[in-house]
């Protein structure tokens, strides 16, 4: 689960021209325009490679950090069935992270380097995972809204011009629908329960609605890297287009649940056939991206601890494998 908006986080300018000649760049663009897929060993502009490394690795980090807010409820799921489902979903997120890390590695960056960039804070992950999961209803809201927003973004990424990324996204999208449906089913169950349970569902929607809309990234006018990504067919739709699509499909789902979307200005425009909504608090988005969300510190601490605590296991396995290989070579 992830959406765009991470293309804001890069410090270096990915559109900065590399050492390529005009002819090389034109030939590359011709391939892109013809909808040819670019494969790992094909020639590509440095800026294309940099953009992809940043986007795919940050997408992978999002999947891995995204395990934390949901993992928080694994031991407290309300039934064995819900627990098994949530465990399977969290495992899927780990799997998605691994598909994506391996796609990024085809571009010549090592797994260790990517992890180091995450742990040092150089690489970002999706802002949404810096919000806390305070009640069981949040697990429903995350599956429904956060995975829902992720699907909106990831489906066009299946057609991304970079082959390994596109194939990873196809795999991810096949699994993502289960995530969203299990979340909506949790919401349905709560909304069909006691008044208190329904209030929990409403509270979760209230807290996750705006952060979910922010997942699509800044408004198009303020989206720094969009134009080049669109030209390279890494990105197929703008942030605002995807956000609008998400709102249009999600509002009726909220109505079915009998819940109120926390936006007084939300209304359906019969002419455009789209919902109109009030402005997003972008200051909140930039604060969270900058590291000042409610859980940024906690998420990073937990990830660093996991990395440190596992170090001896990784090292022991490596040394054991070497010894075994040496023994079988000697035999």
């Amino acid at each position: 689960m992830y959406t765009q908006g991470l293309d804001q986080a890069g410090k270096s300018d990915p559109a900065k021209p590399g050492p390529e000649t005009r002819e090389q760049l034109d030939a590359f663009q011709t391939r892109i325009d013809a909808e040819e897929k670019i494969e790992a060993k094909d020639w590509m502009p440095e800026a294309y490679r940099r953009t992809l490394v940043r986007q795919i690795s940050q997408h992978a980090h999002s999947e891995i950090i995204g395990m934390q807010p949901e993992g928080n409820w694994l031991t407290r799921a309300p039934s064995l069935k819900r627990k098994a489902i949530l465990l399977a979903k969290v495992q899927d997120e780990a799997g998605h992270g691994l598909y994506l890390y391996s796609a990024a590695e085809t571009l010549g960056v090592s797994r260790d380097q990517m992890v180091a960039d995450l742990l040092s804070g150089k690489a970002k992950y999706s802002s949404i995972f810096n919000y806390p999961t305070l009640s069981w209803a949040d697990i429903g809201a995350i599956g429904w809204l956060v995975d829902g927003a992720a699907i909106m973004n990831q489906i066009p990424l299946c057609r991304c011009s970079y082959g390994p990324y596109s194939r990873a996204m196809i795999r991810v999208c096949k699994e993502e629908s289960f995530h969203q449906r299990q979340g909506y089913e949790i919401m349905l169950t709560l909304c069909g329960g006691t008044a208190e349970q329904k209030a929990m569902a409403q509270d979760a929607l209230n807290r996750f609605w705006w952060p979910s809309l922010m997942m699509f990234g800044p408004n198009d006018a303020n989206s720094t890297h969009s134009a080049q990504s669109m030209a390279w067919k890494i990105k197929r739709f703008s942030n605002d287009e995807l956000r609008q699509k998400f709102i249009d499909v999600t509002v009726p789902q909220a109505e079915f649940l009998g819940l109120t979307v926390p936006d007084d200005e939300l209304r359906y425009n019969e002419e455009t056939e789209h919902y109109e909504h009030s402005d997003i608090d972008w200051q909140e988005f930039f604060d969270v991206i900058a590291g000042n969300g409610p859980c940024n510190k906690q998420r990073m601490e937990k990830r660093r601890k996991a990395q440190d605590d596992g170090a001896w296991v990784r090292e022991a396995a490596r040394v054991y494998a070497e010894k075994k290989a040496a023994a079988s070579a000697a035999a």
């Binding site: 060993k41 094909d42 495992q91 799997g95 691994l98 391996s102 090592s110 090292e315 396995a317 490596r318």
Partner: protein, 94 residues
């Protein structure tokens, strides 16, 4: 920095009768771990009945930069295709 576990490419046969197909890659300390990691990463929904893993550094690949020269021998042999031959319509079963 500690050394990274080697990278393995993963190939999966989705059901018997089909050939193995590249699925992605995994890191693992040894061959056996590569198989179980590949299973956990790429077949959580019964996507496979058989897995091959091979160290990525053992794969020999053709160079895309040289691909036009490399595949050139096949360029001018259109007579290898059945449509190259003109057979009168009256002749059947050919």
């Amino acid at each position: 920095m500690k050394q990274e576990w080697p990278l393995y490419e993963v190939f999966i046969r989705s059901r018997s009768g089909l050939s193995h197909r590249h699925a992605g890659s995994v890191h693992a300390a040894d061959d056996e771990m590569a198989l179980t990691n590949a299973r956990d990463t790429y077949t959580r929904r019964k996507e496979g009945v058989s897995i091959w893993v091979v160290r990525s550094d053992k794969i020999v690949a053709s160079d895309p930069e040289e691909s036009s020269a490399f595949f050139e021998p096949a360029e001018d042999k259109i007579y290898r295709h059945p449509t190259f031959y003109e057979i009168p319509d009256e002749v059947e079963n050919l």
